[in-house]
Amino acid sequence: MDYYKHHPETTADRRLSHHPSAWARSFACEDVSPLVICRGPIRKEALDVFAEMGITHAGILLSEKDSIVYTHALAPELRRLSPEHVHRVRDYSGATKAEREERLAEIVKICKAHRYTHVFAGYGFMAEDESLARTLEDNGIVFIGPRSHVHAAAGKKDEAKRTALAESVSVTPGVDDLTTRVVLERHPSLGSLREATAALGLELPAELFEEGASLRAAAERALEASYRARVDLYSVEELIEGAKEALAALFVEHPGHRVRFKAIGGGGGKGQRILAGIRASEGIDAARAAAKAAADAVREILAEVKAGGVGDDKNIVLELNIEETRHNEIQLLGNGQWCVSLGGRDCSVQMHEQKLLEVSITEEGLESAIGRARREGRAEAAQTLEHDLATLRRMEAEAERFGLAVGLNSASTFECIVTPRGSKHFFMEVNTRIQVEHRVSELCYVLRFSNPNDPRDSFEVRSIVEAMVLLARHGERLPRPTRVPRHGAAVEARLNATDRSLAPHAGGLIRSWTDPIEHEIRDDQGISLKNPDTGVFVHYRLAGAYDSNIALLVTYGGERETSYLRLLEILRRMKLRGVDLQTNNAFHYGLVHFFVAQGVWAKPTTRFTLPYLTQVGLVAEAAEAIDLDRVFEAIERSFAERARAALGADAAPLIAAARAALQLKDTLIRRPIEALFAEPHALSAWLSHTRSAFRFEGERLVWTKNPLEVLEGTYWLLNMDHRANVPAAHVIWDHDRDVLERGLGFYRTLASRLGLGTSDWEAIEARLASEEAPDGIEEAQWERVRASHAGFQLGLEALAMLVHLGKEAGFYELRVEPDLSITIPERLLDPALQARMRKVLAPPPRTSANEIVAVSGGMFYAREAPSLPPLVEEGTRFAAGQPLYVIEVMKMFNKVSAPFAGTIDEVLVTTDGAIVQKGQPLFRVTPDETIVEETEAARKARLAESTDRLMARVLGEVR
């Protein structure tokens, strides 16, 4: 079964023209000719859905950055699209407002020339662009998405907040009218405002400025007019001053809180900054001082969302940052007359404001989880889930009200933040487009459209893209659908090109990728679409010109638990191989194991990821300090010592047998441990997975599961369990499997002879401790049984070593409480530790101490903006932490700070925008202090010391 090309959940014949019902047939969409103007996984998904709907004339825009930035990056869509349906453009959206307008004109031109009746923008930058929707409308082209007035009312963060207030939707405290305030500050009277608008040539009705008219209303109208005329009523400097003032006021009002700045046109983490406030003991002076940071924030935000030009709407929303929040969102669909919610998604697992894992929240799912918690006697969990259910219902109701109020006529998402305890929620924003994670919702509900005249006459829609096309084509004719539960749960993991610390890592080459397995929906832009001629995987260069996402891995199941287990299986089996390739696959694997082990309904907040990573870093650091050879030496020595203590000179044959057994089991035990040590996220997965296999009695580890079974589980966890037709080097070696199977078989027989289950490990072990043969087993055989037990267990102390290592690194302190909240130990919130662990997980490139090298591949800039001087020049003395250069990776402008203090001797890359490789020297420098590298001998001594200390604990030799 090819789960890539024909997934039973995502592929279907969607042609309504073939529907038995005449009423349903009237909603056929085959006359729609869409042009897709976005990139990413949604492009391929949309093309698939269009084709399944019977649409034959569909085309795409293809940007230069998608097709020609790096070799081997030929857009995979081209493998099956006929060339006449591919339209080249420079960029999908354009870098400046002028370019964007140019692009709009180009899109209209392409539509007219090639007879495209509709435009689909996915979740691209253009999807929420009011001017795109308006331009298309003006040209008689239908936008498959909300109408322009919906964008205006719901898409802009300031407008949306006002609508929300009007619809009594719960919102966070803040400032949404900054630009109006700035204009009023500058023009405190109607007269002054009128003069200013006249001077700019803005044509405004005279009554606006009549005696007694509202100054605020006039200012708002004047602002709108200025954006249309593309002139500025205020300068960026004035905006900054206004922002500082408003910020200082918010700080004073809400001490102890940080404030979030959001560009009105931002999204997906772009155009946002969070600024630290003051303590309760401080006053206005401290607030003013802290508010100075607004200047950089405003400039950076405007640059990021490309709204810094003349005539751009530069409004920025200031909002109290709710520190511990969960991010929930409601999927909406509407036609202007009705609005239906398709349940929610919990997107709290994020990093740098980028979502990583999204899971469905539905009434049905929560109800069943509550029932289960009650049955299992977990009252606290049940109570929390009940709160969640109430919140979800409120959010869905508010979302539907909001959608109706703005006349939503397509898909949108209503985003909320939810407090981790108490379940208060605040409306955050509406994304007037389909979201990346939309599949999670479409897998939970089917839309059933029924004939108002005959309820039995109906058709079903199982795709949000499909629903959007239907809404665009038939709009108000579509009756309000009912939502019918489909799967109990669905979850999506974003597979990104990031290193172990989740920092973007571009430029890798994928040479092979295992095929999708059952239950796996892989939205990967077509990367896995094999060469149609040869059936061979086409190498794919991760250009990273747009973002770090490689694919969306989606799965579904009866309950959330099933979905998570399926996701685990997908992540476990998936292997990407290539050159310089780094993905967050292992991170997800470790994370999902964490939830599966501790409760899939655990409630991480948006700040969970960083402390979790920090904890994984601590485990990695501890593992780095272990010398495995020494571990096995210690095990052997410990055995020998015990043997000698018991038998004196007679111990020799025992010691020899032990050595032989250890030798035979060497790769069996060592290999998976080496693999765990090589990937900290796999080690994290293991620590979570084995959590139920032991308990501690004081310092003593007591296995509650046969360690040999734990070893078998370790092979499974590492995807190294035996499978036919997999290279031998990727799975357990045959002879290791023989020993393992023999051992497991031995314990199975033993358990049944003892009348016990194999899971009654502690009871089995207690029996084995006795020399006396139990009933039914002969004395001699019992002796052999005990000998085999000793043999099979020998060396598994190395697994106990892993548990002790995890415990000492504090791994088990990060835990889910009975009420489903997650306890994050305070130490994991220390920024210094977080920074250090980031380096443990992803060691920065080696520097020869006399140069500064690029931290990542990307575009190098010496300055923050073209008008500004370079950050450093020849002769500049720089301090540790001082910004040295800017590197653009995946549209994020990263200011890179000096790792140490020194002086710039020479600037090696002199062109702004030059593409640099990771590790490429950028500056020749003289450091203030030279870094001392650890000598091999010192390293050995350090490892010996820490290994001995740990093994003393493991082997119970702690004195």
Binding site: E64, P727, A728, A729, W733, H735, R742, F746, G791
Partner: protein
């Protein structure tokens, strides 16, 4: 003796030891003996050497074979050797996809895969069979070297294998995987093959670090002496990969571009990528490059051109980590396997140096022998001059490339992209050297010399100008002279650095526009291949190679 500490055992005491069925008749006994003999090469050495191989993160020969193909191998001689155990070398016929492939692989678990006279003969028979039946050859080398107790026998073994392999060189293509630690003959033998693939954590070379230490007193790690970095940089290894699995998968991938022998064509794969797909991206790329501030002096990564021309953008580069100023790659155009030999100005300005010459020469000779058409892509200002290159023997290297080009008898096309100056033009598959078709992009600049050529073309005018400048006085004269020279530079570029002269002299068939590149090249390849009959390359043995 206290039994609180039993003697550790790895047996299952509940399992009764299966007793070997007793042979009840002479016939049964013969069958039983036969069965034991068949098992011998797999079991004779017991578990320990296999475990040791695995400890080194290496697979056994049987495990390696299973990565190449799920179908069981047809082993040619299961027991040949004194101990009836196959003597550490497996020769077999494998079924990989639709093709029969001759394979040899050292079994390191038996005598460390070492060579003796028996193994030499075994290899020789395999090579002979491959040559006669037209089977491509895959080698999986993992050998400690000559079997010392065999004495001169081991050396004779190598010599016999060398000879047999040389005899099929140019008859069937071969891909050699370098696993483990191979020294001496264990390196020379595989390097006689067409392509060498080396994974990380392996060594091969003349001698190991031990000998180097004892002879030269040099301390060197195996990796620094003969690891993939070293051989990847010198070209001794054509491809370097991360591990054994990757090597074997690369082998399978490469095999899809190779014919089975020198009498047949490389596998044709009908394509769903339209042959007339416009290559818009090339247009965009050229525009970006040539309209940039550095104009026609802007480096251009030629891999993009190859990617755009090939079916679905898929191609396979050889020696991708060295001499990047010359790209050699296999790709398919309209389903036909094509070899690309392309100057790459994005590296070292695309100038042809010793390494690039040998890289190209080697690739061209291979394509020529195995009936693979070649597209030459020219964008170079010439051979790299200088003392270093002369001392490395650039004359020899350039000559080797030129010879290889002249000898080409398969369909051969030249595409001029931009610069084609002097000796580089003269030697790079033009009509006089035997090209079937020479195409030029509008950006082509064919000239005897680059901008310096004005000294010769405008010799008289320059003399007059310089004389006049001298009369004008030092400062004023220098300024005036600079302007005049700049004018002449521009005039030179306008008049001579273009495809006009070459077109007028019939050195170029026609101009091709960037967007038509795939269509034009594809149709040309298809035309030539329709009228090409694959055959063994024959003729006089020339001096040199």
């Amino acid at each position: 003796m206290s039994s609180t500490l039993p003697i550790p055992s790895l047996d299952d005491p509940f399992l009764s030891k299966a007793e070997a069925p007793k042979a009840t008749s002479a016939y049964d006994e013969a069958l039983h003996e036969g069965k034991l003999l068949r098992e011998r090469p797999y079991t004779s050495q017991g578990l320990a050497p296999i475990a040791r191989q695995h400890q080194k993160h290496r697979m056994t020969v049987w495990e390696r074979i299973r990565v190449l193909t799920p179908e069981p191998p047809t082993v040619l001689f299961e027991n040949w050797g004194k101990n009836l155990d196959g003597a550490g070398l497996v020769t077999a016929i494998l079924r990989i996809g639709e093709r029969d492939v001759a394979m040899y692989g050292h079994d390191f678990t038996v005598r460390a895969g070492s060579m003796d006279a028996t193994n030499g003969k075994k290899l020789a028979r395999l090579f002979q069979l491959a040559g006669e039946r037209g089977l491509p050859l895959v080698g999986m080398n993992d050998s400690a070297g000559a079997y010392v107790p065999a004495g001169v026998g081991g050396l004779d073994g190598y010599a016999e294998a060398f000879t047999a392999l040389r005899r099929i060189s140019g008859v069937v293509p071969s891909i050699m995987n370098m696993f483990g630690f191979n020294a001496g003959g264990g390196s020379y033998l595989p390097r006689q093959g067409s392509f060498v693939i080396q994974p990380a954590d392996t060594f091969f070379g003349l001698t190991g670090p031990g000998v180097v230490k004892s002879v030269l007193g040099e301390d060197v790690t195996p990796d620094d002496l003969g690891g993939p970095k070293v051989h990847g940089a010198s070209g001794v290894a054509d491809l370097t990969v991360i591990d054994e699995v990757s090597a074997l998968r690369t082998t399978a991938r490469l095999l899809r571009y190779l014919p089975s022998d020198n009498r047949s064509l490389a596998p044709f794969e009908p394509t769903s990528d339209p042959l007339d797909r416009p290559t818009y991206e090339l247009d965009t790329l050229f525009r970006k490059a040539f309209d940039s501030p550095s104009g026609f002096n802007t480096p251009f990564d030629i891999s993009f051109l190859i990617q755009q021309v090939c079916d679905h953008g898929d191609y396979f580069e050889l020696q991708p980590t060295r001499a990047r100023n010359m790209v050699t790659a296999f790709g398919r155009v309209g389903g036909h396997v094509v070899g690309f030999v392309a100057n790459n100005s994005a590296f070292d300005s695309g100038q042809i140096d010793v390494a690039a010459s040998f890289k190209a020469a080697r690739f061209i000779r291979f394509a020529n022998l195995y009936n693979i058409p070649i597209i030459f892509v020219e964008d170079t200002t010439g051979f790299l001059p200088g003392r270093e290159q002369e001392s490395l023997g650039i004359v020899h290297a350039g000559r080797a490339m030129l010879d290889a080009i002249i000898d080409v008898r398969t369909p051969r096309i030249l595409l001029l992209v931009r610069n084609a100056f002097g000796g580089a033009y003269a030697s790079f598959n033009n009509y006089p050297t035997g090209a079937d078709l020479v195409l030029a992009l509008p950006t082509t600049r064919v000239a005897v010399m680059g901008p310096a050529g004005k000294e010769f073309v405008y010799k008289d005018e320059l003399r007059k100008i310089r004389a006049k400048a001298r009369q004008m006085g030092p400062e004023e004269g220098a300024l005036w002279l600079k302007d005049r020279e700049a004018e002449l530079n521009q005039r030179y570029e306008r008049e001579l650095m273009n495809p006009r002269e070459a077109l007028s002299l019939g050195s170029v068939s026609r101009i091709v526009m960037p967007v038509e590149l795939r269509a034009t090249l594809g149709r040309a390849v298809d035309f030539f291949m329709r009228h090409y009959t694959p055959s063994a390359f024959s003729g006089i043995q020339r001096e040199f190679h």
